[in-house]
């Protein structure tokens, strides 16, 4: 079996997901036994026009992205969206509900029209067909390795479809609702091993919704535990604006 060629690309993002992958160190060397990395801006200066798997970090937020994304799609057999920005728009999509001109003036007061940006930051699936995604902000690197391995083996990527609550219970955490906090864990996709709730935080939804979430019940519960509607919407919108919810 010849090793598949893998190329990494970045769009609107902090590039932290790629950095997490570089942090794999020992496992990265093992990973290189099963794949060839032919392009990775954060790690190497070589570039390659030919690759089998494209791993894309970042959201689709400029018209000019479209051409580049289409080119990648034409070349790659498999496209993987890496991290929340590529998967669901991520933190970038927070701006989607605001007026672009106002926002540009606020962020770049001296030169608001120097930078190109679209009205909305969208997941890359809004531009091209995506074959697999690795959720999270940042991604869970163990999951990244597992998905790559599964794809190389010709298996389904194998992402959990159950919510964070499952992993939280397996870790024997006291439910954060019992501690007087509110959490999106019941409707958000697991796979992170409940890392936030296991270390004193709450789930803020960076991995996106599970398939078929019971949003009404989640809303009722957050309300019952004292959040008003506005704050519920705020907390859900952090990673999942209306444009991307459910994708």
């Amino acid at each position: 079996m010849s090793k598949p060629k893998v190329a990494f690309f970045d769009f609107t993002s902090c590039e932290g997901c790629q950095l997490s992958i570089l942090n794999l160190e020992a496992e990265l060397l093992e990973l290189l036994e099963i794949i060839d990395i032919v392009e990775f801006r954060e790690a190497m200066s070589e570039k390659s026009g030919s690759f089998d798997i494209a791993v894309i970090e970042g959201s689709f937020s400029r018209d000019s992205d479209l051409k580049r994304l289409k080119k990648i799609r034409e070349t790659a057999g498999v496209v993987i969206a890496l991290g929340a920005c590529a998967h669901i728009g991520g933190i970038n999509a927070l701006r989607n509900s605001q007026n672009r001109e106002d926002l540009m003036k606020k962020v770049y007061p001296d030169n608001p029209f120097l930078y190109e940006t679209n009205e909305k930051a969208l997941p890359i699936s809004a531009a091209i067909k995506v074959d697999a995604f690795i959720p999270g902000c940042p991604v869970d690197v163990k999951e990244f390795v597992r998905v790559v391995k599964n794809l190389v083996l010709g298996k389904d990527p194998g992402l959990p479809t159950y919510p964070v609550c499952v992993e939280c219970k397996l870790n024997e955490n006291i439910c954060v609702y019992e501690l007087g906090k509110t959490c999106l864990g019941p409707v958000v996709r697991a796979g992170c091993n409940a890392v936030c709730t296991s270390s004193g935080g709450v789930c803020i939804g960076c991995r996106g919704l599970i398939p078929n979430p019971n949003i009404n019940s989640q809303k009722d519960i957050m309300q019952k535990y004292g959040l008003d509607m506005e704050r519920i919407i705020d907390s859900v919108n952090l990673f999942m604006t209306e444009d991307v919810r459910g994708k």
């Binding site: 390795v145 083996l153 499952v166 864990g185 019971n214 019952k224």
Partner: protein
């Protein structure tokens, strides 16, 4: 199992010393504290054992059936080995509910195809239980499923006698272990007996087992289309928490994990959950249990129906973990009780012969409230509790005169007495006013649909706005007094009460008491015509509503009063933003049979005596006759 339970006794210090010694040969797992939480875990010193029980997130089943374990090791070249990981373990301090759970798992993993991974771990373990003599919290319901006195699933059970533990040794393995590690003396039979009697009392007082516990498989089978499956499924998040924490769930998923070398790998099993959407999904996307309702049904039926038949006992052990972990407040107790009640009704209708037969009740206490209204405390001759929900009513008979529908005014109770307040307005009520303490009447019921668990759950953490007019306080008092028993379950409780004159007020002493409660409880009163002594508000009941500080989004209003009152109150509430689905009304109608037959109380297609008298207003707002 030994043919006879061996009873011994030892001091607590002695037991601890014994466990310490056993550490040379065994790993010890016990209840312990770690990162601020209490859980069952391996310990390196007996000092770390917690003897007082706090409910844990996971049950100790994880020592025999871990969250994840390797069952096969293989190479891609085709070599394969079975893998069974185990350490010789003493599991110390398991409580009766979890022991019953282990007993059920022992049966499940032994039958037909003995599971090598589970059974090897069990064979290499000693289970030392600590008996309970109290109920751990309001969510536990071990007594309802009779799991507090396990007969198997352990080797030694300790009973707390203060400085000493009495010991019941039930297996040869336990006997051998105890002989080797514990210095034991003769049991103080009297003290052990006292412990057992006290324990029995505690669990009996908590309410005892589910009515018809043994018949639950039958009851569940005939209620597969009960509406409660819809109402519970509507709230269910399908998050799987209930299954993860269950001491008797044992479904698992099997996963191949190849090492990155792509040469060797493991086949592992991991806890799975039938509440998760993917549980019954096959490749190609077909899902054989797609609907949440079917998953809820399946989970609960496994405990009280399918597997109950197989194991000969409820497979739910009542530990309460699923109730504690459910953010949507779904509880097996609510479901079991609803289905049991429906089955009872179904069977009652089949039988038919008790339908119109009243039971004798004695008048135990009478108080005159006003010129026309008297309070009666009644006691059923058969010694049973009335078993009513707040808002339900009875039919009271005086032979020779007739029968009249009367609301029950006391909160639900296990006792056999209950309260009514009756205005002398008709034949039966006029006659009742002439009776004295010790006289008897006959009653049927309770009837109708009151404030059931579903409504009570909706009220949790909400601001409850009671609005009562005149004698309308009487039916509401059942719910008012129930909520006052646990005020911290509600955001706020506001009681608005209006009468014609100060003299017309019901339960004057209780009102006085409620007005002193403070905290999140407030009582606002008004009368149409005050006198010199009346210092509170004067005016109609609606004038009280603006005086309450409430957020319509989390307020539930409950109304009962004279017919004229409802329209005005509901309009004022609407002006303040309260929607009809957050308003409950208790309606009065002429009633004769109480069992949905005679037709007197009918409004369109509903019978007030069966579907009401308590209604969510949004359910009847389009009915012209309702108000």
């Amino acid at each position: 199992m030994l043919t006879e339970v061996m009873e011994k006794q030892s001091t607590k210090d002695n037991i601890m010393r014994g466990l310490k010694k056993a550490m040379a040969e065994y790993s010890i797992a016990a209840l312990t504290k770690k990162d601020g939480k209490v859980l069952f875990d391996y310990i390196d010193d007996t000092d770390k054992i917690e003897l007082e029980y706090t409910p844990t997130v996971l049950s100790p089943k994880k020592f025999f059936f871990p969250q994840e374990e390797v069952i096969l090791e293989y190479t891609l070249e085709g070599r394969v080995n079975t893998k069974i990981d185990y350490t010789k373990t003493v599991l110390f301090g398991v409580r009766p509910c979890d022991i019953t759970g282990i007993q059920i798992l022992d049966e499940a993993f032994s039958e037909s195809n003995g599971d090598p991974n589970y059974l090897t771990k069990r064979e290499n373990s000693i289970i030392i239980g600590i008996d309970c003599n109290s109920i751990c919290d309001e969510n536990a319901f071990c007594y309802k499923v009779a799991s507090q006195n396990p007969k198997g699933g352990f080797d030694i059970m300790l009973h707390n006698l203060g400085n000493d533990f009495a010991m019941s040794i039930v297996t040869a393995k336990g006997e051998q272990f105890a002989d080797q590690y514990f210095e034991m003396g003769k049991v103080d039979s009297e003290a052990l007996n006292t412990f057992r009697i006290e324990k029995m009392k505690v669990f009996e007082e908590a309410g005892g087992p589910f009515e018809d516990l043994e018949k639950l498989p039958e009851i569940f089978s005939e209620n597969q289309f009960h509406p409660i499956w819809d109402t519970e499924a509507e709230r269910c998040l399908s998050c799987g928490s209930c299954i993860m924490v269950c001491p008797t769930c044992y479904c698992f998923d099997v996963i191949d994990e190849l090492a990155l070398s792509m040469k060797i790998g493991d086949r592992l099993r991991r806890w799975d959950a039938c509440m998760l959407r993917s549980f019954a999904e096959v490749s190609g996307g077909e899902n054989f249990r797609e609907e949440v309702k079917n998953r809820v049904k399946h989970r609960i039926n496994r405990k009280f129906n399918f597997l109950m038949t197989k194991h000969g006992r409820s497979v739910c052990v009542g530990c309460g973990r699923c109730v504690r972990s459910c953010l949507a407040d779904i509880s097996p107790v609510t479901i079991v009780e609803a289905l049991t009640a429906t089955s009872k009704e179904m069977h009652l209708e089949e039988k038919n012969n008790d339908l119109y037969l009243p039971e004798k009740a004695y008048i135990r206490k009478i108080e005159t409230f006003t010129e026309n209204e008297k309070f009666f405390e009644l006691e059923l001759e058969n010694g049973k509790s009335l078993g009513h929900q707040p808002g339900q009513f009875i039919l009271l008979s005086i032979f020779g005169i007739g029968e009249a529908a009367i609301s029950v005014s006391s909160p639900p109770s296990f006792g056999n007495r209950f309260d009514i307040v009756v205005r002398a307005v008709g034949d039966v009520t006029n006659k009742l006013h002439t009776l004295t303490t010790g006289d008897f009447v006959f009653i049927r019921g309770p009837f109708g649909h009151g404030f059931d668990n579903n409504i009570l759950n909706k009220m949790k953490n909400k601001h409850i706005l009671f609005i009562a007019g005149g004698i309308g306080y009487v039916p509401l008092r059942s719910l008012i007094n129930l909520t006052l028993k646990k005020t911290n379950a509600y955001k706020k409780i506001s009681i608005l009460y209006g009468c014609k004159t100060p003299e017309d007020r019901m339960f004057k002493d209780e009102l006085q008491y409620i007005s002193t409660l403070g905290g999140n409880v407030e009582l606002l009163e008004t009368v149409d015509n005050g006198d010199d002594k009346w210092l509170k508000n004067t005016g109609v009941i609606t004038t009280l509503i603006p005086m309450v500080d409430f957020n319509p989004e989390d307020t539930i209003a409950v109304i009962c009063g004279p017919p004229i009152m409802y329209k005005f109150v509901i309009k004022t509430l609407a002006d303040h933003g309260v929607t009809n689905n957050n308003i409950y009304v208790s309606l009065e109608r002429r009633m004769k049979c109480g069992v949905g037959k005679c037709g007197h109380c009918q409004i369109d297609n509903i019978y007030v005596c069966q579907d009401g008298p308590v209604f969510r207003f949004s359910d009847i707002e389009d009915k012209e006759e309702a108000l």
